[in-house]
C-alpha cells in the first residue's frame, strides 16, 4: 500500500507547503539523524489481535490521567492547614476542614469543569490499573513472558505495583472521611510490623496519625516521584517491546523468526491514534455520566467517625479482603509487646503472592529448562498446567477481592456477614485447588477436541449409506489455515532424573524433575505429520 502511494508523486502537493515540510525534515535529520530511527521504527511490525491492544488501553488511560491530573494540580492545595469551608456546597458550610479537602470541594463545585476533570482523572485511574491487570493476564495465559521477555514481565509487574501506589496516594489526597479511613488502615498495618512499625508510622506521618504532614508528602509522591518512575518504566517497557518484537499467535506463514502484521507507519500508528481517541471518548463519556468518589458526601476527615461500608478503590481491595478474612484474635503477647499476627500474616501472604507473580517466568524457565526464544504466543489450552496455575492465582485474588466487599455482599444478597466471611475463608484455601483441577481438565479436554478436529474434521450431519449397506457420517476436513492453528504448538516432556557431571543427583535436580512431571505428566501430544497424512487417507 505504501509503495502504491509513493509511485504516484504527481498527487502530492508540490507547493510551498511540501517544500517547507521537506526542508524542516532535512534540517532535523542533518542535526539528529532522526530519519534512521523513523525508518527503523516505522518498519516495526505489530501483529493484529484484540488481546494485543490491552496494554494500549493502559498506556492511553495513563495519558488521560496525566492530562486531567495537570488540570487538577492548578487548583488543588496540598495542605492540611485548618480552614472553614465557604464554598457552594451547603451541608459543609462553615465546617472546619483541611485546605486539601476544601480545595477539592472547590474543584468539584466552584471551578468550571473541575468536577468533570476529577471524575475523568479518577475513572481513568481505575481503568489504568484494570487494563494493566487484564494485560498481565493476557501475557501470562499466552506464555508471552517466556524468553526473551522475562525482564519485560518484571518491568510490567513493577508498573502494576507503581500504578497501585499512584492510585492509593491519589485516593488519599482529598483528605475526606473515606480516604482517611483507608489511610488509618494502612497506618495500622504499618504499626503491626514488629519492632520498626511504630517508627515507620511516625516517620511517614510526621508524628502521631494523622498529623499535619501526610497530605503534602503523599502529594509529592503522587505528582512527582511516582509519575517519574512510571514514565521511566513505561519507556523501558516500550523499548523492550520493540527490541523483543511482539508475540503473535500461530498461523500459516508465522514463524518464530518473523512477525506478521501491520507496520507502525502508517497503518499501526493510525490505528493506535484512533484507538487513543476511542479510549479517551469512553473515559469522557463515563466521567460525564457516572459519579465517582463523591467526597462531599463523605465529609472531611476526622479520626473519630468510621463509616460502614468503607472500602478502598478496587485495586487495593485484595489487600483489604485479606485483612477481613484473617480470623480475629491472632495476637500473641511476648516481651511486653503485642505481636499482631492478624496484621503480620496478611502482609506476608500479600507479599508472597506478589513475589510469586513477579518471579513466575523465571520459575517456569527453570522447570522446563527451555532456553529457546519464543515469539509465538501459546493458546492457554496448550499449556494446561500453567493455565491451571493462573486460574488458581486468579481465584485466590478474586476471593480476596470479593472479601473486601463482604458487608455489601451480606446486605445485598440478604445473608449474614459471618456466613460470607466463613465461606470466603474456606474458598480462599480450597478455591485455588478446585480452580486448578477444573482448569487443567478443561484445557486437556479442549486439546483432545482440537486433536479430534484435526484428524477427523467436523461432523457434517450428512449420513450416507454405502453400497454394502453400512451407514456413515461424512466428516468435513478443516481447511489448512484452521489446521495450522491447531497443530503448531510445542510439546514438553517431563524431565528424566539424571546424575550431573560429577555423577551426583542433587536435591535441586530432584525438585526440578518432580516439578517437571507435575507440569507435563498429563499432556496431549500435537498431531504429527504422519498422523495427519494417514488421517487424510480415509
Amino acid at each position: 500500500m505504501t509503495v502504491a502511494t509513493k509511485s504516484k508523486p504527481s498527487r502530492q502537493p508540490s507547493g510551498a507547503g511540501m517544500r517547507f515540510v521537506g526542508g524542516v525534515a532535512n534540517y532535523l535529520d542533518e542535526r539528529t539523524s532522526i530519519s534512521t530511527a523513523v525508518k527503523t521504527l516505522g518498519r516495526k511490525i505489530f501483529p493484529d489481535h484484540w488481546s494485543f491492544m490491552l496494554g494500549e488501553i493502559a498506556l492511553y488511560s495513563f495519558v488521560i490521567i496525566l492530562l486531567s491530573g495537570t488540570f487538577l494540580t492548578l487548583f488543588f492545595e496540598p495542605s492540611m492547614t485548618e480552614v472553614h469551608y465557604d464554598g457552594s456546597y451547603a451541608p459543609l458550610k462553615g465546617i472546619q476542614m483541611s485546605a486539601a479537602y476544601s480545595s477539592t470541594l472547590n474543584i468539584s463545585f466552584d471551578i468550571r469543569g473541575g468536577l468533570l476533570m476529577r471524575q475523568v482523572h479518577h475513572w481513568a485511574a481505575l481503568l489504568f490499573v484494570a487494563s494493566i491487570g487484564l494485560h498481565m493476564l493476557r501475557v501470562f495465559f499466552t506464555g508471552a513472558f517466556r524468553k526473551p521477555r522475562e525482564i519485560n514481565w518484571v518491568v510490567g509487574f513493577l508498573l502494576f505495583i507503581m500504578a497501585m501506589a499512584e492510585g492509593f496516594t491519589g485516593y488519599s489526597l482529598p483528605d475526606d472521611l473515606l480516604s482517611g479511613n483507608g489511610l488509618r488502615i494502612i497506618d495500622g498495618m504499618i504499626k503491626g510490623i514488629p519492632g520498626i512499625g511504630l517508627w515507620i508510622s511516625y516517620l511517614l506521618f510526621g508524628g502521631e496519625f494523622p498529623g499535619n504532614d501526610v497530605v503534602p508528602r503523599l502529594y509529592m509522591l503522587h505528582i512527582m516521584l511516582l509519575p517519574a518512575i512510571v514514565i521511566a518504566l513505561i519507556a523501558v517497557h516500550l523499548v523492550l517491546l520493540i527490541v523483543n518484537k511482539h508475540t503473535q499467535f500461530a498461523g500459516p506463514g508465522r514463524t518464530e523468526k518473523n512477525v506478521v502484521g501491520s507496520p507502525i507507519l502508517p497503518v499501526f500508528a493510525a490505528k493506535a491514534g484512533g484507538f487513543f481517541f476511542l479510549v479517551f471518548g469512553v473515559t469522557m463519556l463515563i466521567a460525564s455520566l457516572v459519579t465517582i468518589n463523591p467526597i462531599w458526601a463523605y465529609g472531611p476527615y476526622d479520626p473519630s467517625p468510621v463509616s460502614a461500608g468503607t472500602q478502598p478503590d478496587w485495586y487495593i481491595g485484595f489487600a483489604d479482603g485479606m485483612l477481613r478474612l484473617i480470623p480475629s484474635g491472632w495476637e500473641i503477647v511476648i516481651f511486653g509487646g503485642t505481636l499482631s499476627l492478624n496484621l503480620i500474616v496478611p502482609i506476608v501472604v500479600l507479599m508472597v503472592f506478589l513475589l510469586v507473580v513477579a518471579a513466575y517466568p523465571f520459575f517456569e524457565a527453570w522447570v522446563t529448562g527451555d532456553k529457546r526464544e519464543h515469539h509465538i504466543a501459546e493458546r492457554p489450552r496448550n499449556a494446561p498446567t500453567r493455565t491451571a496455575i493462573g486460574a488458581a492465582g486468579v481465584t485466590f485474588y478474586g476471593v480476596l477481592w470479593a472479601a473486601a466487599s463482604s458487608d455489601l455482599i451480606a446486605t445485598h444478597f440478604r445473608t449474614t456477614i459471618e456466613g460470607v466471611i466463613v465461606t470466603l475463608q474456606v474458598l480462599l484455601i480450597v478455591g485455588p485447588f478446585i480452580a486448578f483441577w477444573l482448569t487443567k481438565k478443561v484445557a486437556l479436554a479442549l486439546q483432545r477436541k482440537d486433536r479430534e478436529l484435526v484428524l477427523h474434521g467436523y461432523e457434517s450431519s450428512r449420513i450416507v449409506r454405502l453400497p454394502g449397506g453400512e451407514y456413515r457420517e461424512i466428516h468435513t476436513p478443516l481447511d489448512e489455515f484452521e489446521q495450522w492453528k491447531l497443530v503448531s504448538f510445542d510439546e514438553y516432556q517431563p524431565e528424566v532424573l539424571r546424575p550431573n557431571a560429577r555423577g551426583k543427583i542433587t536435591v535441586g535436580a530432584r525438585l526440578r524433575t518432580g516439578l517437571s512431571s507435575f507440569y507435563f505428566e498429563d499432556r496431549i501430544a500435537p498431531v504429527t505429520k504422519p498422523e495427519l497424512e494417514s488421517a487424510s487417507q480415509h
Binding site: L178, L278, P294, S307, A308, G309
Partner: protein, 260 residues
C-alpha cells in the same frame, strides 16, 4: 392462655364487630376533630383509644399480648410510647411479615388514623416518647446535621446514608427518602438494633439538623451523574471492569475484526 383470644378473634361475628367499632370510632373521631382540630394531636379521645385497643387486639396481640404485656414471640410494649408505634407501624415494619433477623420495611398496612389510634392506646398504658412537635421536623442546619450524622450515625448507616451490614444478617437500612417523623422516631425510640439517641445525647434541635441533612441529600440528588447506588468504591470498581474495560475490549475486538 393464648388460645382464648385467638378463638375470640376468629369468631364469625368478630370482623363485623370490628368493622362496627372502627366505623363508630372513625366517625366519632371525625366529628370530634372537625369540631376542635387544634389540641387533638396530643390529647387522644377515649373513642380513639378504644379503637386503638381493638385494632391492637386484632393485629398485634398474638405476639405482643392482649394488654401489650409481651409474649415469647414479641416484647412488651408498655412504656414504648406513641412514637414507637408510629415508627414501627408507619413504616410497615409491624405487623412483621415473618420472623427473621429483623423486621423489614414493607408497604404500610394501616391508614394513618388507625396507626394514631393504636399509638394512642399504647401511649395510654404508660408514659413514653410522644409525637415530636412539628418545629423539630423541618428547617434545621444541614451542615451541623451532616457533622452529627458522621459522628453518630455513619458507622452503621454509612457516611452517605447508604446503609450497612450488622451481625447475624441484621443490617442498618439506607436512609434515602425517609419521612422526617420516622427519622426522628428512630433516634428517640431506637428500633430493632438501633441505639436510643435521647434528648440528652442529641437535642431535639440537633435531631432537626440531622433530618435537614438527610432531606438535603434526598432533594439534591447526585451532582456528578449516576450514583451507582451510592455504595462507594465497590460499585465503582465493578462498573469500571464491566462497562469501561468491557466496552473497550469490545472496541478492540471490533478494531481487529477481519472484514468479511
Amino acid at each position: 392462655m393464648a388460645t382464648s383470644p385467638r378463638r375470640g378473634r376468629r369468631h364469625p361475628l368478630a370482623s363485623i364487630a370490628l368493622l362496627l367499632v372502627g366505623l363508630f370510632a372513625s366517625g366519632g373521631a371525625y366529628a370530634l376533630f372537625t369540631g376542635a382540630a387544634t389540641a387533638a394531636d396530643n390529647v387522644p379521645s377515649a373513642a380513639q383509644v378504644e379503637n386503638g385497643k381493638a385494632l391492637f387486639a386484632a393485629n398485634c396481640a398474638s405476639c405482643h399480648g392482649l394488654n401489650a404485656e409481651g409474649t415469647k414471640a414479641g416484647p412488651s410494649l408498655v412504656g414504648v410510647g406513641a412514637l414507637a408505634v408510629e415508627f414501627q407501624v408507619g413504616t410497615g415494619r409491624m405487623p412483621m411479615a415473618g420472623s427473621g433477623p429483623q423486621a423489614e420495611k414493607k408497604p404500610v398496612q394501616f391508614a394513618q388514623d388507625e396507626i394514631d389510634a393504636m399509638a394512642a392506646w399504647v401511649a395510654s398504658l404508660a408514659p413514653g416518647p410522644g409525637m415530636p412537635d412539628a418545629e423539630y421536623l423541618s428547617g434545621g442546619d444541614a451542615s451541623n446535621g451532616a457533622e452529627l450524622f458522621r459522628i453518630n450515625c455513619a458507622m452503621c448507616h454509612n457516611v452517605a446514608g447508604a446503609g450497612g451490614a450488622l451481625t447475624e444478617g441484621k443490617f442498618a437500612p439506607n436512609l434515602h427518602n425517609i419521612d422526617p417523623v420516622h427519622i426522628y422516631a428512630a433516634m428517640v425510640t431506637g428500633p430493632q438494633n438501633m441505639p436510643v439517641f435521647s434528648d440528652m445525647n442529641i437535642t431535639p434541635e440537633e435531631k432537626r439538623d440531622i433530618i435537614a441533612y438527610l432531606k438535603f441529600m434526598d432533594e439534591n440528588g447526585s451532582v456528578g451523574g449516576l450514583d451507582l447506588g451510592a455504595l462507594g468504591p465497590v460499585s465503582e470498581g465493578l462498573f469500571v471492569w464491566i462497562f469501561a474495560l468491557g466496552g473497550l475490549v469490545a472496541i478492540t475486538i471490533w478494531l481487529t475484526a477481519k472484514s468479511n
